[in-house]
């Protein structure tokens, strides 16, 4: 038996909190929140589970948008939101436990973000030395 075809419902940022409330009220478990680049924007996908079936809702957000945190509805979301904030540079408003960029400390700031990582070039030796 394989899992059913996965469908992802696109929602807007204004619909996020109410959609998540519906999941909570209907007894869904928060499985994960993930993010991925989509051209000049980011996809943020929320996954819920009930009776072994996954349900996904997805936001498409510009890099400078502030996403409302769902950690007041599902406390466990603070882990995923802090992770996305640190790796992608997206900001979430009012996370229940906000690490302010210190949850996953990376040598390159926001490695999955929009900016390209700095390229280290070989230092040119002074020919007079």
């Amino acid at each position: 038996m394989k899992e059913d075809e996965q469908t992802i419902r696109n929602i807007t940022m204004d619909e996020l909190i109410s959609s998540v409330h519906v999941f909570k009220d209907e007894g869904f478990r928060l499985v994960q929140i993930s993010s991925a680049r989509e051209e000049d924007s980011f996809q943020v996908t929320y996954t819920f589970d009930r009776d072994l079936a996954l349900s996904h809702v997805r936001l498409l957000v510009p890099p400078d948008a502030e996403i409302p945190s769902i950690s007041k509805i599902y406390l466990a979301a603070f882990v995923y939101e802090n992770e996305i904030a640190d790796l992608f540079g997206l900001s979430f408003s009012r996370i229940a436990i906000d690490y302010k960029g210190t949850f996953i400390r990376t040598s390159i700031l926001h490695p999955f973000g929009m900016q390209k990582p700095p390229v280290v070039t070989k230092k040119v030796e002074d020919s007079n030395e």
Binding site: M1, K2, E3, Q6, G27, R29, L30, V31, Q32, S34, S35, A36, R37, T45, T47, L52, L54, H56, Y74, L75, A76, F78, V79, Y80, E83, I97, Y99, T102, F103, I104, R105, T106, P111, F112
Partner: protein
């Protein structure tokens, strides 16, 4: 009210095989709040997918964890196979199931040893690891590797197990049962184990669900959540019932893992009896295009491998939600209100795998 102080726990601590830090807010000896910090062993493995061929990346996916390694590679392969609509030979799915259950057994036995050690029970630690060696021997004989097997491929597996070897595995596991019964009896009945675990680190059923706990943590709180029930791999053709305990404490989580050893043996025996003949791998050509959330039951709970591809040999995104990451919020809840001396035992009952969690 007593004065509150903050005691740092970790990242280096005798009970922690890997680094995690907890700021424990204490009133006298009682924990009021625990604030976790991670990020000590973040390796950026997910970023590597942008540079590596999706088929080669199987070996990197396997190295996400040094204990539940095989299931990581199998789940990653399953995600790619779903995107590419590849029908894996049935024999390969059975072999993956056998190796997955061997991984679960050696992981649980490793955990039982570490858990015994955290209670100062050295003899039990040695016994657990002595039995674990037998499982590692099976893995080494059949794959060539003790903890990193490297046999999963997109489209199947690279090694077959012959009939004689399958019979030998079945015989070895039957011989292990008396040893396992004695080992789990100690965990179940010993006064020291009960004193250190019963009624400690409570995670009520409703909280476990609300906080998104997975694996033995949620099953120890009376909820039958087990991804194997979705029937991925060969699990749909095998008969099993998840181990569930209702006590919601450290003792329940310990017993869930102990009893799951026997479930794993039963699943392996069933898989050996039912394994079909045929190929173990089919050639996969082209590059994936699409996205998929694959999930599997690791020893520590549900793992999610998300892949997103655009038709090139490098994927756009590979994201892993490991079970330890999901169990961090439940851990914070378990620690609130406990005694300082119980913190190591409670932390260990989520079976934290930090390298896996931080990727």
């Amino acid at each position: 009210m007593s004065k509150q102080i903050i005691v740092p726990f970790g990242p280096q601590h005798p009970v922690l095989p890997e680094p995690i830090h907890l700021d424990l807010v204490l009133e006298d000896e009682r924990v009021i709040e625990a604030i976790p910090s991670i990020g000590y062993v973040h390796r950026g493995l997910e970023k590597l997918i942008e540079k590596r061929d999706y088929k080669d990346y199987v070996f990197i996916a396997e190295r996400i964890c040094g204990i539940c390694s095989f299931i990581h590679s199998a789940t990653y392969c399953e995600a790619i196979e779903e995107v590419m609509k590849v029908e894996v030979p049935r024999r390969a799915t059975f072999l993956r199931t056998i190796w997955s259950e061997c991984s679960r057994m050696h992981s649980h036995l490793l955990w039982m040893g570490c858990f015994a050690d955290s209670m100062g029970y050295e003899n039990l630690f040695m016994n657990s690891w002595r039995i674990r060696e037998k499982i590692l021997d099976i893995l080494e004989r059949t794959t060539g590797g003790r903890v990193i097997q490297g046999v999963c491929r997109v489209g199947g597996v690279s090694r077959d197990i012959q009939k004689e070897e399958l019979d030998k595995i079945s015989g070895d596991l039957n011989e292990l049962i008396p040893d396992l019964k004695e080992l789990t009896r100690v965990f179940e009945e010993d006064a020291t184990v009960q004193m250190r675990t019963k009624g400690i680190g409570l995670l009520p059923k409703d909280k476990a669900w609300e906080l998104g706990a997975v694996g033995p943590v949620i099953r120890g709180s009376g909820i039958s959540v087990d991804t194997r029930l979705t029937g991925y791999g060969a699990y749909g053709e095998l008969d099993f019932k998840p181990v569930v305990k209702n006590e919601c404490d450290c003792y329940a989580r310990c017993l869930v893992r102990a009893e799951e050893l026997f479930t794993s043996i039963d699943l392996i025996q069933q898989a050996i009896d039912q394994i079909p003949g045929g190929d173990v791998k089919i050639p996969v050509k082209g590059n994936p295009c699409g996205e998929f959330f694959a999930r599997a039951e690791q020893p520590r709970g549900e793992v999610i491998h998300y892949v997103k591809a655009n038709g090139k040999k490098n994927l756009v995104r590979h994201r892993v939600r490991t079970p330890t990451l999901a169990n961090i919020a439940p851990l914070v809840t378990m620690l609130a209100g406990c005694e300082l001396a119980d913190v190591p035992v409670i932390v260990l009952t989520i079976d934290p795998c930090i390298g896996c969690m931080e990727r």
